[in-house]
């Protein structure tokens, strides 16, 4: 047995020996006071449903406005539609105006966004663990329909992805 496996029961024992949290809960009077200031479960659910319904309606209105353009204002002529109209000068003018507006809507400076890698790393590690389980099962013969080679190829691909994320992480650290 490896040293690591021998240490796991020791960690479990220490965890069970931990006392209850030093800061205990508040008393029953405080619980009742807080309960009165909060809506009951059914009311909370009703509030949540109303909130979700409002959000859905708001998203639908925004989507419609985006699709059709702002209400009360003429639609901005797109070069593709403007090209169908008569008059070359009008087309080039509209095209230019459209391009100017589009350019002015862009940010002046490019934005650099740092995205955390924790979620990606954990997901990849979980996927590798899952493939490892399948490889073990395939080698033990409990899943005869599944070959080991495709699983190993998938595992190699996942490990490669993990290496790439780690490499990107180290590059980002150096760049900071």
């Amino acid at each position: 047995m490896s040293v690591e496996l021998e240490q796991e029961p020791a960690v479990a024992r220490l965890l069970r020996e931990l006392p209850e949290a030093a800061a205990g809960p508040y008393d029953f009077g405080e619980f009742q006071r807080r309960a009165r200031s909060r809506p009951a479960g059914a009311a909370r659910m009703a509030n949540a449903r109303a909130l979700v319904a409002t959000a859905v309606i708001a998203v639908a209105v925004c989507a419609t406005a985006t699709r059709l353009g702002p209400i009360g204002r003429p639609l901005l002529p797109h070069p593709a539609t403007a090209a169908a109209q008569p008059g070359e000068a009008a087309v080039s003018g509209n095209d230019e105006a459209y391009g100017e507006r589009w350019l002015s809507s862009l940010p002046r400076e490019p934005a650099l966004v740092h995205v955390g890698t924790r979620s990606a790393v954990e997901t990849l590690e979980d996927d590798i663990a899952q493939v490892d389980d399948l490889v073990s099962a395939a080698r033990a013969g409990s899943t005869p329909a599944m070959g080991v080679e495709p699983l190993l190829a998938e595992r190699a691909q996942l490990v490669n992805s993990l290496v790439q994320v780690r490499y990107a992480e180290s590059l980002a650290d150096v760049a900071r």
């Binding site: 960690v11 069970r16 209850e20 949290a21 030093a22 029953f28 979980d126 899952q130 490892d132």
Partner: protein, 192 residues
């Protein structure tokens, strides 16, 4: 220490509490509140968030008390509610935003951990190791090692695979062992 799932309350007390008798409710609260809060505090990590989850859990307990079927001790039933509320909290987008803000702020986690100066040094190390773990890994470690959940039960609670539970547990063990090993580079923190 009495674990939450071991706590039982007399049936007549439960019936009186269901009937709205305040004294009975108070007695049930006194019996289960410390262990419930302790469990939630261990999984959630922050005291203020733990109080919110605890309040929700206890309100649900009293709302659903008439539905309790006595197939297990009341504490075991309450534990299911508490764990479910904790995992809902861990999955919530608000908490994820907060986690991102605190992603590299190890001191924030260490500062909010429930350490008392009376603890033996090795337990203080375990407290610090727990506080330094990612919330999901801490929840899996606590549920498996202390609460006695199986990998299949943890996977079902998180809505993930058994491999997820195993890998989270292995990762948590690795980090805790790293904390327990004597190292000069380990973060230090003064006891209040």
């Amino acid at each position: 220490m009495t674990r939450l799932f071991e706590i039982a309350v007399p049936e007549d007390l439960r019936v009186r509490a269901c009937a709205g008798e305040e004294g009975a409710r108070q007695a049930i609260y006194a019996a289960v509140a410390p262990a419930t809060f302790s469990l939630i505090r261990r999984i959630v990590g922050h005291t203020s968030a733990a109080e919110d989850v605890f309040q929700d859990t206890m309100m649900i307990l009293f709302e659903r008390l008439p539905e309790f079927r006595r197939e297990a001790p009341l504490g075991a039933w309450l534990r299911q509610i508490a764990v479910s509320r904790c995992l809902m909290y861990l999955r919530s987008p608000w908490r994820r935003v907060r986690l991102r803000l605190e992603a590299n702020d190890t001191e924030a986690g260490l500062a909010s951990m429930p350490v008392t100066a009376a603890l033996p040094p090795e337990l203080i190390d375990v407290e610090r190791a727990l506080a330094a773990l990612a919330p999901t890994a801490r929840a899996v470690l606590w549920m498996y090692e202390v609460e006695g959940y199986s990998h299949a039960e943890i996977a079902a609670a998180f809505g993930r695979s058994v491999s997820f539970s195993k890998s989270q547990l292995a990762r948590a063990h690795l980090k805790v062992r790293t904390w327990l090993e004597p190292q000069g580079s380990r973060p230090t923190c003064l006891l209040s």
